[in-house]
C-alpha cells in the first residue's frame, strides 16, 4: 500500500480499505476469461442484459463463469473508444433465443397442451453418473451439460425438475438427468421457476413498470400464456424470491410495494399493498392463509391472504442486509441474509424475527445458501454442511460435512425432492464442474 502524499484521514481510509476488504473466495483463471471472450456471442447476449438488468446481478454474474466456449468461427467485440469498455456484442452465429417461442420439446409443438409420449426423445445428452463430493449421501452428478443450469434455479414438479440455463428453460427427467424438453427463454435474473398446476411460471421481465411472468406447459414446455403485473412504487433492489405459489394454485408476485395475487387463468385478482417498502421476497404458509413478505430494511411482515390485512411484523438489526429467499412452514419462516460469501440462513419461529435462529454457516465461493422446503423437511445446503431439519422447529434431523476439492469449496444448492428422489445443484469450482446432482443415499431422518 502506498500512502505517500496522503493526509492522515486519507491514510486511515486506505489502511481500512486494505484491512477490511476480504480476499476473493476463489481466483480468476485465464480459462474463465477465455470462456468469456468466446461466449460473448452466446445466448445470454440476446439483448436481454439491459432489459432485465435489475434482477440479482450477483447470481447472474456468478453464472457467467461457466459460460461455454462456443465453436463460433468469429466473434466481434464492440468496444467503446471513449470509455474503453465493452458495450455490446454481436455475432453471426447462435441466433437469439425468443421468449415464448415454440419449444424444442419432444412433444408436438403445435399442440402445447399435449402430454409427451412414453419414451420421448431426449433433447439433451445423457451422462454417466459421476460420484462427487466424496459421495456424501450418495451424491452423483447426473447432468453436467455445458453451460450448466444457473444456481438457484432448480425447481421440482410432479415428475420433473425444471432449471434455467443461460438462454433456456429446461425440463429434466430426474431418473436420468437428461433434458427432455427445452425452450429458448431469456429469464430476468435467477428466480427459480414456480410450478403451479400444469404450468411452469418464470419471470421474463422485471422492470420499473411491470413484472411479467411467462407460463409453459409443465410437460412439453409449450407456451401457456403470460401475466403482466404492474409495479407499485419502487422495485426491490435485491429481489430474491419474488414469485411463489399457494396451495390454491394462485401465484404471489412481489411487484414493488405490493404483492399481486394472480389467478393464472384470470390475471391479477388482488393486490396487497405493503407500506413498509419494496418487497424483496414472498412466501405463503402451507395452509394458504398467511402471506409473508420481506423488505430491504430487514422487516418480515405477515398478511392475511383472505383480507389483505397486515397481521404481524418484526424486524432485526445488526445481523446484515439483503433479507430474502423466504420459505414458509407451519412453524415459521426461513430465509437468508447477505449475499455471496456472507450469505447464511435463518429461521424465525412464528415469523417473529425477535426469535431469529441462525440456521447455517455463511456460504462461500459466491454461492447461495437458499433453504428449500421439499419432501416434508427443510434442506440447508451451501459449502459447509448439508442438512435436513424439522421445518417447524428448526431441529436438525441429519447433517453431513461437505468436503472440499483440494481446498476449494464444493457447493450444494436448492435441494429438491421429486418422484421419491432427492436432487440438488452442485458445483466444484476447482474442477470447473457444475450441474444436477442426485443424492441417492440420504438418511431416513430426512424422509419427512
Amino acid at each position: 500500500m502506498n500512502t505517500e502524499g496522503l493526509t492522515r484521514q486519507e491514510r486511515q481510509l486506505a489502511e481500512m480499505l486494505h484491512r477490511v476488504t476480504p480476499e476473493p473466495p476463489r481466483g480468476l483463471s485465464t480459462e474463465d476469461v477465455a470462456a468469456r471472450v468466446a461466449s460473448q456471442a452466446g445466448p445470454r447476449q440476446a439483448g436481454s442484459h439491459q432489459r432485465h438488468a435489475r434482477l440479482s446481478p450477483a447470481n447472474r454474474g456468478w453464472t457467467r463463469k461457466w459460460a461455454p466456449v462456443l465453436a463460433a468461427a468469429s466473434v466481434f467485440v464492440v468496444i467503446s473508444v471513449s470509455a474503453g469498455a465493452v458495450v455490446g456484442l454481436t455475432s453471426h452465429h447462435s441466433p437469439a433465443p425468443v421468449r415464448g417461442s415454440r419449444p424444442t420439446s419432444t412433444g408436438p409443438a403445435s399442440s402445447p397442451a399435449s402430454s409427451p409420449s412414453p419414451g420421448q426423445t431426449s433433447v439433451g445428452p445423457s451422462f454417466a453418473p459421476k460420484t462427487v463430493a466424496g459421495g456424501i449421501w450418495g451424491t452423483e452428478l447426473i447432468n453436467h451439460q455445458k453451460p450448466p443450469f444457473t444456481q438457484d434455479t432448480l425447481a421440482g414438479g410432479a415428475d420433473s425438475l425444471y432449471t434455467l440455463a443461460p438462454g433456456y428453460l429446461d425440463r429434466i427427467k430426474p431418473a436420468t438427468g437428461q433434458v427432455v424438453a427445452r425452450v429458448p427463454f431469456e429469464a430476468a435474473g435467477t428466480e427459480p421457476p414456480v410450478v403451479a398446476g400444469g404450468t411452469v411460471w418464470v419471470v421474463s421481465s422485471y422492470t420499473d413498470t411491470d413484472v411479467v411472468l411467462e407460463g409453459f406447459s409443465s410437460q412439453t414446455l409449450a407456451s401457456a400464456g403470460s401475466v403482466r403485473v404492474p409495479v407499485t412504487g419502487q422495485l426491490a433492489g435485491t429481489p430474491s424470491g419474488v414469485i411463489t405459489s399457494g396451495p390454491d394454485g394462485h401465484l404471489y408476485v412481489a411487484a414493488g410495494s405490493a404483492v399481486a395475487v394472480v389467478d393464472p387463468g384470470h390475471g391479477v385478482i388482488k393486490t396487497i399493498p405493503v407500506s413498509a417498502g419494496p418487497v424483496s421476497s414472498v412466501a405463503v404458509s402451507p395452509d394458504g392463509a398467511k402471506l409473508y413478505v420481506s423488505t430491504g430494511s430487514f422487516e418480515l411482515l405477515t398478511y392475511d391472504v383472505a383480507t389483505g390485512a397486515n397481521t404481524g411484523s418484526s424486524s432485526a438489526q445488526g445481523i446484515g442486509s439483503f433479507i430474502g429467499n423466504l420459505v414458509a412452514t407451519a412453524g415459521g419462516v426461513w430465509g437468508t441474509v447477505g449475499v455471496g460469501m456472507s450469505e447464511w440462513t435463518w429461521f424465525a419461529p412464528n415469523a417473529n424475527l425477535d426469535q431469529l435462529i441462525r440456521a447455517s454457516q455463511a456460504v462461500g465461493a459466491g454461492a447461495d445458501s437458499v433453504p428449500t422446503y421439499s419432501g416434508g423437511v427443510v434442506w440447508l445446503a451451501g459449502s459447509t454442511t448439508l442438512e435436513c431439519v424439522n421445518p417447524d422447529t428448526g431441529q436438525k434431523l441429519a447433517s453431513v460435512a461437505i468436503p472440499t476439492d483440494s481446498g476449494v469449496l464444493e457447493h450444494f444448492g436448492r435441494v429438491t425432492v421429486t418422484g421419491g428422489g432427492v436432487y440438488a445443484y452442485y458445483s466444484d469450482a476447482k474442477a470447473n464442474l457444475a450441474g444436477l446432482a442426485a443424492l441417492t443415499d440420504t438418511p431416513a431422518a430426512c424422509s419427512g
Partner: protein, 186 residues
C-alpha cells in the same frame, strides 16, 4: 459517445480464442487485487468477478498493444471503472438506502469481520458512483490523482473534489469511523 470500434476476435476451429502472450501471468498475478477492487465497487463477489472478467475480456484483443505501452493494468482498471459506472447508470444494482445499517458488534465475535465488511459496503453504497470510484482507485488501488483522473476521464481537480466529499461522507457513516481508526479486529 464516440463511434464504436469493432475489434475482431478470431477463434480457431475448436472455438477457443488464442491466448495473448503474457496474459496468463497477468491474470495470475493481478486477478486477486482486481477482484478486491471489484468487490469494493460492486459490493459482492459474483458482480466483482463479472466486472473483472468483462474488463479482461475487453483487454484480450488488444493485449499486445497494451503490453507495448506498459499499461495493461491501467487499461483494465479503466475498463472496470467505466463499465461499472455504466452499469450504475443503466441499471440499479440493488443498493438500497436502508434506514437501518448493520450495527457493528462487540469484537471477537465470529461475525465481526462480516459485519465490518457489510458496514463498509453499506457506506460505499451511499456514495455517489464517481465518489466511490475515486475511493477505490485512489485509496485501495493506490493510483495517483493523475492516474485516477485518467481512468475516469475527468480532471485532477474533479478527483480531488470527489475524494474530499467521499471522505467526509465516509467519516459520518455508521461504524466507519471506528473501522478507520482500527476499532474493529480485522
Amino acid at each position: 459517445m464516440r463511434l464504436l470500434e469493432v475489434l475482431p476476435v478470431t477463434l480457431p476451429a475448436d472455438g477457443s480464442p488464442v491466448e495473448p502472450a503474457g496474459f496468463r501471468d497477468f491474470v495470475q498475478a493481478r486477478s486477486n487485487a482486481l477482484l478486491r477492487s471489484g468487490w469494493l465497487l460492486t459490493g459482492d463477489w459474483p458482480s466483482a468477478e463479472d466486472l473483472v472478467q468483462t474488463a479482461l475480456a475487453a483487454a484480450w484483443p488488444r493485449w499486445d498493444t497494451l503490453v507495448r505501452q506498459d499499461a495493461p493494468e491501467v487499461y483494465v482498471r479503466k475498463i472496470m471503472v467505466n463499465t461499472w459506472l455504466r452499469w450504475r447508470k443503466r441499471r440499479w444494482n440493488g443498493e438500497v438506502a436502508t434506514a437501518r445499517l448493520p450495527e457493528l458488534r462487540a469484537y471477537g465475535d465470529v461475525f465481526a469481520q462480516v459485519d465490518a465488511r457489510q458496514a463498509l459496503i453499506a457506506a460505499l453504497d451511499r456514495l455517489p458512483a464517481r465518489q466511490r470510484a475515486v475511493v477505490v482507485l485512489r485509496y485501495f488501488a493506490d493510483q495517483t490523482e493523475a492516474q485516477t483522473a485518467a481512468a475516469m476521464g475527468c480532471s485532477v481537480g474533479a478527483v480531488k473534489s470527489h475524494a474530499s466529499k467521499a471522505l467526509a461522507r465516509l467519516r459520518d457513516a455508521p461504524g466507519l469511523s471506528e473501522l478507520m481508526t482500527g476499532g474493529v479486529a480485522s
